[in-house]
């Protein structure tokens, strides 16, 4: 490995070193705040280092890594999301029974896996990142050992994720058998020259799609979502909804674009079908939901359906629209889960709609943040969610994907209904069912900071998105 290899990997190395550092420190003395601070610092330093190494990009470390603007941009988004999630985890994890500091170690390793995924241009790194992320998630989901629901969610996720990993690996193996290569680019050349694809390859792609579809919670691989989202500690639900899906989306986009999947009619049909199915399933299952965590889980399913559309748009334009939409989705989802986690006490999570009734009259700022996040997810003007949706519709119509855009708009409408219901509950004049004797927990500074920043971003990018759009269009070219 040459110097420049190391330099271009600095962000990853920092996130790899931080868990080790924390492990060592924990063995000496346990102090929650110290570990928390180190985690935050490592995330910040890694983020800054991205800008430091920019002059040396793009750089490929053959055969595994492709470190270009796309992967660094995505890594940056992942780091920022992890930053917010850590801020929001502070008070939540503090009241978990048993050992707490390990949470941050596992969160960092998960983030490491996610960042590796964004840089993967090869099956091996793809799988490595995938597994690192998955294993970290197994631990994070079942972190609240005292809650039965948490362990149940962890086991469900473990079994299903392992099965899907097996599918993924098997698919990769089949493709390797046929083509003799694991690299995306070489694969692309092979496919271009092959003409008719052999059944082995098609089968391999199909199995890979199962593995990817599970992680992204696309229909019909979405069944795990509501239970796992509900059972996990609330910050971890945010993590699954954003970083896990986002990282996988990154590698999927890279994979799909490099093999020019959009040119194949079969792929097109399959992905279109999955997208439409996903959008509908997510919406219809969400309508009857009383539990907000499950509802947000379903909403994340629907949003992934929207992002699939950009895959079909193909080319740089679709990727740019997709990245912007992902950013809006990340921020809004973290905001929504964030409010829930900040409200949760030791005894139980705040998750039912009846529990947040009338929250505005007791905690106006929290209710306002929550409303803003939900409005952004719904795509109402003034929020960045609106610009994001508009961008996807814009590119979609330009590429002629009218059916998909129509389904997207209908889905947005349906989703409005269930988002509005939650917002309506916030402002209802009845007293909330939260026990009036036990005070609503005082919001920690870090949680408050995170929520304030998130809401500011939602509003700011809703009104002044131009600068970010221009950055994305200029730099993110696949």
């Amino acid at each position: 490995m040459s110097t420049i290899d190391f330099i271009s990997l600095i962000p990853v190395l920092i996130i790899a070193g931080a868990p080790l550092l924390i492990l060592i420190i924990i063995s000496i003395f346990r102090k929650y705040e110290v570990v928390y601070g180190i985690t935050l610092l490592s995330l910040i330093i890694s983020f800054i280092s991205i800008f430091v190494i920019l002059p040396d990009i793009p750089h490929n470390i053959v055969p595994l890594f492709t470190i270009d603007y796309f992967s660094l941009f995505f890594s940056g988004i992942i780091l920022i999301s992890a930053f917010f999630i850590v801020l929001l985890s502070y008070s939540y994890i503090k009241q978990v029974g048993g050992f707490k500091e390990e949470y941050y170690i596992i969160l960092l390793t998960g983030t490491l896996g996610a960042m590796l995924l964004t840089m993967a241009s090869d099956f091996i790194l793809f799988f490595l990142g995938f597994e690192t992320l998955s294993i970290s998630l197994y631990v994070m989901i079942s972190f609240q050992k005292a809650k039965k629901l948490s362990i149940e969610a962890g086991i469900k996720y473990l079994i299903l994720a392992s099965a899907s990993s097996a599918f993924l690996l098997f698919g990769m193996a089949l493709i390797y058998t046929q083509t003799g290569t694991m690299e995306f680019n070489t694969l692309a050349i092979y496919i271009k020259n092959a003409g008719l694809l052999s059944p082995l390859i098609i089968f391999g792609f199909g199995m890979m799609l199962v593995g990817i579809g599970f992680k992204l919670a696309l229909a019909p691989f979405h069944m795990w979502t509501p239970d796992v989202y509900q059972g996990s500690p609330t910050p971890v639900s945010a993590y699954i909804a954003t970083i896990s899906k986002g990282a996988l989306m990154a590698v999927f986009i890279r994979f799909f674009i490099s093999i020019q999947g959009v040119k194949s009619a079969d792929f097109f049909i399959v992905i279109t079908a999955i997208a439409i199915l996903t959008m509908f399933v997510g919406n219809f299952l969400a309508i009857r939901q009383q539990n907000i965590k499950r509802l947000l889980g379903y909403s994340s399913i629907t949003n992934m359906g929207f992002i699939l559309i950009i895959l079909l748009i193909g080319g740089s334009r679709g990727v740019q629209a997709g990245i912007f939409y992902l950013i809006t989705y990340f921020i809004a989802t973290i905001g929504a889960f964030g409010v829930l986690s900040v409200l949760s006490t030791r005894a139980e999570d705040i998750e039912k709609r009846s529990e947040i009734k009338g929250l505005y009259w007791k905690r106006p700022w929290l209710a306002g943040f929550f409303t803003l996040s939900l409005f952004s997810l719904a795509g109402l003007p003034l929020t960045m969610g609106f610009i994001g949706k508009f961008y996807v519709i814009f590119e979609g119509v330009k590429s002629g994907l009218f059916l998909l855009i129509f389904v997207m708009i209908v889905s947005s409408l349906i989703s409005l209904y269930y988002y509005l219901r939650v917002v309506g509950a916030l402002f209802a004049k009845q007293k909330p069912e939260i026990n009036n004797e036990t005070q609503l927990p005082t919001i920690s500074y870090s949680g408050g900071l995170a929520l304030t920043l998130i809401s500011a971003i939602i509003l700011f990018l809703g009104v002044f998105p131009g600068w970010l759009l221009e950055i994305i269009i200029k730099w993110i070219v696949l």
Partner: protein
């Protein structure tokens, strides 16, 4: 820039009022009142600005917003928007004053929502960039949703959701149309822009133009409302607090009428021409059906809500009659209807606060209890049914005159609407103020504040009725320069291409 500042002032006032409301409700009310008053005074100054040479605009402002998509901050003021802005701020002040006594709960937040709604309405009247127009169109919805949902009566939840979902569906259909227009124009000229001026005259096949126009019409017809998209209206109007109802009835419906006048004909001249007979029929249905439903009501607030549908039917009729008289009538009707409907709802509110009931069965013979409310009621009932001397008469007369030029049969049917409005209005007045006396106890009559509100309203409606010329003069250039030339052009083009059918002959008087 001044136009942009008007909107920003409203938003800033909203935020300040909200914050001030935490300490003192009175401060919140005063701040919001002053904000709208400032804008009203500014708008009055705009009356005296001469037109910019060569353009129909009094004030024009353009700034970049999202360059990537070709979206600009393009605000323009002409005679039509000027009049509507005056109406907006005037009614806004009245709504704030009504909320003084009506809204006691979280006053600051209420003023925030009220001012934000006004900001959205102002933006709609001023935007010349289609994306911006859509942005403000959506912006009107959310605070209104909160107003209905938080401060409304026991059915407020259902009313608020219905209101929001109906309007949002219409809005999304309009968004699809706007985007389609954007892309078609871009594909043809290579310039991707949302600017209204540049988008007019885009070449489209008749079928495409009709489809895209339908998207716009969907949004406007939901808001006007036009039967059968009116389902949200009675619930929303009745469940909203009176201050909110005044905003809904007097202002939000006018945004749709404005949209029809401003956008439909310049963008889709031929499609609109072929739609015009259907439009007129829809207008007539609105007039007659609204009147019939109004006659059947026992809830006073619901009754006035249905009269609103009926009067808006005249506007729809006038817009699609396609001639100068009808358009003048439409402009006056927008103003006059705004005034009268606000006044009628204030009367219902006065009775409601004093008697705790809106049911016609429990009201009667109130003239002896509260003669002043009675006389106000009578005045505005007369205005509403179109008594000469009041603004509504001028409006409805001009509209019928214009419709007569276009299609005699339709005009005759529409005139029955005048008869119908007389019936339900007089029934309403008779049931409330005359007849057997139901309430024996002493009731307070109008306070000084209420008397002054009514006084202002009466002055305006009499002015519109007796001396509408200044208003018509302000509006005429806008109507002439923006709208009529495109119509005569389209009529000529229809003629020239040999597509004239029997229907068109009616329009060629």
């Amino acid at each position: 820039m001044i136009l942009f500042y008007c909107i920003i002032l409203l938003i800033a006032g909203a935020i300040v009022s909200w914050i001030a409301g935490k300490w003192s409700p009175g401060a919140a009310r005063i701040i919001s009142l002053l904000t709208v008053l400032t804008d009203l005074i500014a708008t009055i100054f705009f009356i005296f600005i001469p037109e910019e040479k060569g353009t129909p605009w009094l004030i024009n402002m353009k700034a970049e917003w999202i360059k990537v998509f070709g979206i600009n901050l393009n605000f323009s003021l002409d005679g039509l928007s000027l009049l509507l802005l005056l109406l907006t701020f005037f009614i806004g002040i009245i709504a704030i004053i009504i909320s003084w006594k009506e809204i006691k709960f979280r006053v600051g937040f209420y003023q925030f929502n009220l001012l934000l709604t006004l900001a959205g309405i102002t933006g709609v009247f001023l935007s010349m960039d289609l994306f911006l127009f859509y942005f403000f169109w959506e912006l009107m919805l959310i605070p209104m949703f909160f107003i209905i949902g938080i401060w409304g009566d026991k059915n407020r939840k259902k009313a608020a959701y219905k209101f929001f979902l109906f309007s949002q569906i219409g809005g999304l259909l309009m968004l699809i149309s706007i985007l389609s227009l954007y892309f078609i124009h871009g594909a043809q000229t290579g310039v991707y822009t949302f600017n209204f001026g540049q988008l007019t005259g885009t070449m489209m096949s008749p079928a495409t133009a009709y489809l895209i126009m339908s998207g716009f019409l969907a949004a406007f017809f939901v808001k006007l409302p036009v039967i059968p998209l009116h389902n949200w209206l009675p619930d929303a109007y009745v469940s909203a607090p009176f201050s909110g109802t005044i905003l809904l009835a007097a202002l939000l419906s006018k945004t749709a009428a404005y949209g029809l006048l401003r956008f439909i004909f310049p963008l889709f001249p031929d499609a609109a021409l072929s739609f015009a007979p259907i439009g007129m029929i829809l207008g007539i249905i609105g007039i007659l059906y609204g009147a019939k439903l109004a006659y059947a009501q026992t809830d006073l607030k619901r009754l006035v809500a249905y009269t609103s549908i009926s009067h808006m039917g005249f506007i729809v009729l006038g817009v699609f009659a396609l001639n100068h008289f009808a358009y003048q009538g439409v402009v006056i009707q927008m103003l006059a209807h705004g005034i009268t409907i606000a006044a009628l709802f204030i009367i219902v509110w006065s009775l409601n606060t004093r008697l705790k009931t809106r049911n016609l069965d429990s009201l009667g013979g109130l003239w002896s209890n509260v003669p002043i409310i009675g006389s106000m009621g009578l005045v505005f009932a007369m205005a509403s049914l179109g008594l000469p001397g009041m603004g509504n008469f001028i409006a409805e007369f001009l509209i019928l005159l214009g419709t007569f030029k276009a299609n005699v049969v339709m005009a005759s049917i529409a005139s029955v609407g005048l008869l119908a409005s007389a019936i339900y209005t007089l029934r309403m007045i008779q049931r409330i103020f005359f007849g057997k006396k139901q309430v024996e106890r002493k009731i307070d009559d109008l306070s000084i504040l209420e008397k002054s509100i009514f006084g202002a309203l009466i002055i305006v409606i009499l002015w519109l009725g007796l001396y509408p010329n200044p208003i018509l003069d302000i509006a005429s250039p806008a109507i002439n320069k923006s709208i009529i030339p495109l119509q005569s052009q389209s009529i000529n083009s229809v003629n020239g291409s040999g597509l004239s059918s029997n229907k068109n002959i009616y329009f060629l008087h």
